[in-house]
């Protein structure tokens, strides 16, 4: 083995710079992969662990108290699938946020928010102010204090010291935010339901007020997305040990409970899997994006490894031949070659792995804002190790395949000095022109050694496709309108609730138009109904065209009251397509049949929502929509005028109208802003990373090329070519190759980008997500990338200066 050792070390030493370059690329790839995979593992692992630690049930349900008090608990105990059941009283009430100065914070609050006593429900942990550790002995809220989840901070910028104002009938109670807590069930801004914790004694005082208020209102439904006051029961239902042993999970339990008719029709039921899935959606999407990127990096590193191995074989042609002539076996030579790459890769992957693990905790705090869960320790990075191991094997195999070539070198052929490394038909190739000398020399150089440039072209292709994709996603979410289109939502600029019958919709419309023209006017209402044991949002829209046409994946918008347009994931899980029937039980338990008229790409309920006409929803849920039918939503031609319109309405109608925003996606805007910011940050980081990789790839390839072409370059210099001219010509080659590769990549992104990103985003319902990649922008990305290639080639070709012409004077 001694000769192999010597050959290996000699090869590593001779091409030290090449191996250093490859190592850098592999370190980056291993870093990105380790970071992504272990971040995903840690976030989802912690979310699950936290869910278990706090004592969240396999099924979580909120149910109306009045009709069902005591009932569900009894029915639950009777079921063999059900193990432990924990029941807690809670109430929901209209509320608003104010900052320390008493200024309103955040926009509309159309989510279901409920209040619970601290310490009686889940065993939640308080978070420190910086969201970076737990507050071990947090006192809990005092009488006039409230604890909230980090989601409130994300969506409404709520901070310690701000206030939550709860309206209970005539009474308004003000609570100071005293701290944040980790809530694995409702802590993510992506959950539509959110939890607030009060001092238990205060809670006990307020609960009767909520009951009175409900009695006074005559029993409106709390789960219609309206601001009503309501007491209810919260259930944490666990599977029995036998059921768990039989392989049932939370989703199964939710379905069984539904079938058994445990809940009232208004209950809002979620399985543990659904809740965790909801809070991890963004993590999934971002991990997928990052993983694609990391794999891309690896493919580039692999391409360059294989390229460099084949160049090494070509360059060492004579050496190999001579070595064979003196009796070194081809096996030893290949072995040495493979070892060089294997050692480099092993070292680089190890370093990248270590750095990835080391850096990963940096991402924990920002992701707390997304998942609501604090990560403090890593789980063993088994998945990252396995994947890196696999990739290592792929790399070694690829080099080994190349190394087989060595076996075919005969000493004689080798000593004839690798004739024919320049291969092209002079007749078929372009003329060298006098006026474009640098460019045509560059073109000739590429045409003559096409194979050397293939790897580079592939790099440019992959990088360009990826950057174009990033730009396409970024542009698609850059403007508010575009965001709405991309995610299948809409916003109302002005909401007007007609408090009394004194004022009619016509007068309101006229008053608004005095200030700003209206582009859309509609009624909207939302209702949670259970389907297969899980709560889904059913949405009624009097004018479905507020939803952009481009969100339609199939069919059309609902027109008749028995038509329903279903979200992408609902369509998938129920196996619905246009024309199919959807049978749903209304609040009174009566089954109603709806016809699916379309499939829509919308983040409503994470793709599990359904759209009806407003009459359709009224027909379905009846009187519960009373309030909604009094609240009109308006979109203005110029959204900037909304404040002016509100002021005008208040002046004109006073207390006859309520102009607080009640639009359904008021808080979704904050969430989407968050997603957009994350995507933008990641996009910039990845583009910078990609440019870095382009530079590294050029460094690798150009260094090899320059050393192989020393004699040619020297000859050209002896003819009087200036160093600058040769460097420009060298840069032209890379520009051309990158332009060609990049153009293919950009075209691929242009053609297939939307469906790729769409399938990724269909995780949360936005399956028709269209990247905004106009041709000019794809072209600009391509040219910019080609310029990066060219500029780095120009910089790296500095060494042409040191090509001494005397090197041509062979002794």
């Amino acid at each position: 083995m001694e000769p192999v050792r010597t050959l290996t070390l000699a090869g590593l030493k001779r091409n030290a710079r090449t191996f250093a370059g490859l190592a850098v690329l592999l370190v980056l790839a291993a870093f990105a992969l380790t970071f992504t995979i272990s971040l995903h593992a840690d976030l989802s692992g912690r979310a699950l662990a936290s869910y278990e630690e706090t004592g969240g049930g396999d099924v979580h349900a909120l149910d109306w108290v009045e009709e069902t008090e005591g009932e569900p608990a009894r029915r639950l105990q009777a079921l063999s699938e059900v193990g432990q059941v924990r029941v807690l009283r809670a109430f929901s009430a209209p509320m608003a946020f104010e900052d320390a100065e008493g200024e309103p914070l955040g926009e509309s609050e159309s989510v279901t928010a409920f209040f619970e006593p601290w310490g009686r429900g889940l065993e939640v942990k308080a978070l420190s102010d910086g969201f970076d550790s737990y507050e071990a002995d947090a006192p809990g809220p005092k009488a006039d204090e409230v604890y909230v989840t980090p989601a409130e901070n994300v969506l409404s910028q709520l901070e310690v010291g701000d206030s939550v104002v709860i309206s209970l009938g005539q009474e308004e109670r003000r609570f100071t935010v005293a701290g944040f807590f980790e809530d694995p069930q409702m802590g993510s801004p992506f959950m539509g339901t959110r939890r607030f914790l009060l001092d238990p004694q205060t809670f006990d005082e307020l609960l009767p007020l909520a009951e009175e208020e409900m009695a006074r209102a005559g029993g409106a439904n709390p789960f219609a997305v309206e601001k009503s006051t309501y007491p209810f029961m919260e259930y944490e239902v666990d599977l029995s040990d036998e059921a768990r042993a039989a392989g049932l999970d939370g989703r199964d339990l939710a379905r069984i409970l539904e079938e058994e008719g445990v809940w009232s029709r208004e209950a809002s039921v979620f399985s543990e899997e659904t809740m965790l899935g909801q809070s991890l959606i963004v993590v999934q999407v971002i991990s997928a994006l990052l993983a694609v990127f990391a794999l891309l990096l690896f493919v580039i590193a692999l391409t360059l490894c294989v390229h460099s191995a084949s160049v090494a074989i070509e360059e060492g042609y004579a050496d190999h031949g001579i070595a064979k002539a003196v009796g070194v076996t081809p096996g030893m030579l290949s072995c040495a070659l493979i070892l060089q790459y294997a050692l480099t890769a092993l070292g680089a992957l190890a370093v990248g792995f270590a750095v990835g693990l080391f850096v990963e905790p940096v991402a924990w705090p920002p992701f707390l804002m997304v998942t609501g869960v604090l990560v403090q320790a890593s789980v063993f990075p088994a998945a990252a190790l396995a994947i890196l191991g696999l990739l290592f094997a792929v790399l070694v195999c690829a080099v080994a395949l190349k190394a087989r070539k060595i076996g075919r070198i005969t000493p004689l052929a080798a000593l004839r000095q690798g004739a024919g490394d320049v291969r092209f038909s002079p007749r078929g190739s372009c003329k060298i022109s006098g006026s474009r000398l640098s460019a045509s020399l560059a073109w000739r150089a590429v045409a003559s050694r096409k194979r050397s440039y293939v790897g580079l072209g592939v790099c440019a292709l992959l990088l360009c496709a990826f950057i174009a994709l990033c730009f396409g996603i970024g542009a698609a979410v850059s403007e508010d309108e575009a965001v709405n289109r991309a995610f299948g939502i809409w916003e109302s600029d002005v909401s007007v609730e007609l408090v009394s019958d004194e004022v009619g919709p016509e007068e309101v419309r006229e008053a608004i138009e005095e200030v700003a023209p209206i582009s859309h006017e509609w009624l909207e209402g939302a209702y949670m109904l259970n389907l297969d044991g899980a709560a889904r949002t059913f949405l009624g829209l009097s004018d479905p065209s507020v939803l952009d046409e481009s969100s339609l994946i199939e069919g059309r918008m609902p027109r008749q009251s028995n038509e329903v347009m279903v979200g992408l994931n609902l369509a998938r899980s129920q196996d619905l397509s246009v024309g199919d029937e959807l049978v749903i039980a209304d609040p009174s338990g009566q089954e109603k049949t709806l016809i699916a008229c379309g499939v829509v790409s919308s983040v409503l309920n994470g793709g599990d929502g359904a759209f009806l006409t407003f009459e359709g929803l009224q027909r379905l849920v009846g009187d519960d929509l009373e309030d909604a039918s009094r609240a009109r939503q308006y979109q203005l031609e110029d959204a900037e005028k909304a404040d002016a319109v509100r002021a005008h309405l208040e002046e004109r109608f006073g207390d006859e109208v309520d102009t607080r925003l009640t639009g359904l996606f008021g808080s979704a805007a904050g969430m989407i802003l968050l997603v957009r910011n994350i995507l933008t940050a990641i996009g910039y980081a990845m583009c910078a990373f990609a440019a870095l990789i382009a530079v590294a790839a050029v460094a690798l390839v150009s260094q090899r090329m320059l050393s192989a072409e020393r004699a040619d370059l020297g000859a050209l210099r002896a003819c009087g070519f200036k160093v600058r001219a040769l460097r420009v010509s060298f840069a032209w080659r890379f520009f051309g190759v990158a332009l060609a590769g990049g153009a293919v990549g950009a075209a691929a992104a242009f053609l297939g980008g939307s469906s790729l990103v769409g399938s990724l985003f269909s995780l949360f319902g936005a399956g028709a997500f269209t990247i905004a990649l106009p041709v000019w922008s794809a072209a600009a990305v391509t040219v910019a990338l080609a310029l990066v290639f060219a500029a780095s080639a120009y910089v790296f070709s500095r060494s042409i200066r040191t090509v001494s012409i005397q090197a041509l004077v062979t002794e």
């Binding site: 060298i432 006026s435 000398l437 003559s448 000859a715 050209l716 003819c719 200036k722 012409i805 005397q806």
Partner: protein, 260 residues
């Protein structure tokens, strides 16, 4: 023979430092190259002939002393000025052809031709075509260097050296890697060009090559140690054995007087 001095060196010195050991190769060389001459620089192998040639031609920087081309100082000139000088006024032929591997023989000649000032690309092609046919390379003009023979490559290199009508052609052992027949052909080409007025400075250690010149210089131990004038080579008598033998005898006698 011997027109105006075109290139001159004064007290030219060059030393290399390798592993801390200084080697003095040129020890104050004074030399003039005159327009129209075929000057031959002879000397033992390793004596520093190539070093002198490259210091004279601005390819290498002397340690001390100066080189003037047409009265203008070129030692210590900037790299870009030197490149310009090589493109416009100097031509080089090396021991190996050193053609650019991905250009055809014709392109190897025409590409430097494009660099000549005051000449259109069209004219450059015309000149290159003329040279290609003069060098007898029409058949292989569209071949790549690795598809043509060593002799063809070296003739191409000669054509490349003169495509811009340089003031001086520097040739460093241009026949060193060729067989006899090819050597004679390349020397014939250089001689023919000289007969038309081309100034040539050629390094060789071979007497058979050296007799093509009209001025022979002997270089040893860092300085020019002797000089001999010969009548200009008469191409018409190249096949005349007596003529050749006579010139060789003269050169050999001169060299022996210098303890060659």
């Amino acid at each position: 023979m011997g027109g105006e001095p075109i290139l001159s060196a004064a007290r030219l010195a060059k030393s290399y430092v390798t592993d801390g050991v200084q080697t003095h190769v040129l020890l104050g060389v004074d030399l003039e190259i005159r327009e129209g001459d075929f000057t031959v620089l002879m000397g033992p192998s390793g004596s520093g002939k190539s070093t002198l040639l490259y210091c004279l031609s601005g390819m290498d920087a002397p340690t001390a002393g100066e080189v003037r081309f047409r009265g203008k100082l070129i030692s210590g000139a900037k790299e870009n000025e030197l490149a310009e000088l090589r493109a416009q006024s100097f031509g080089f032929v090396f021991q190996a052809a050193h053609l650019v591997s991905d250009l055809t023989l014709f392109e190897n000649v025409v590409v430097p031709g494009y660099l000549k000032r005051g000449r259109s690309a069209h004219e450059a092609r015309g000149v290159a075509e003329g040279l290609i046919s003069r060098m007898g390379l029409e058949e292989v003009a569209a071949h790549l260097p690795n598809q043509s023979s060593g002799g063809q490559q070296q003739r191409c290199a000669v054509a490349r050296a003169v495509v811009n009508r340089p003031d001086i052609v520097f040739a460093d052992e241009p026949t060193g890697a060729l067989n006899q027949a090819n050597s004679r052909e390349v020397l014939g080409l250089l001689g023919g060009l000289n007969a038309e007025g081309q100034t040539v400075l050629m390094v060789t250690h071979d007497v058979k090559s050296a007799i093509r010149g009209n001025r022979l210089l002997y270089f040893e131990d860092g300085a020019i140690r002797g000089e001999m004038a010969l009548p200009a080579w008469d191409a018409a008598r190249a096949e005349d054995a007596a003529y050749v033998r006579d010139r060789e005898a003269q050169a050999t006698a001169w060299l022996s007087s210098l303890a060659w």
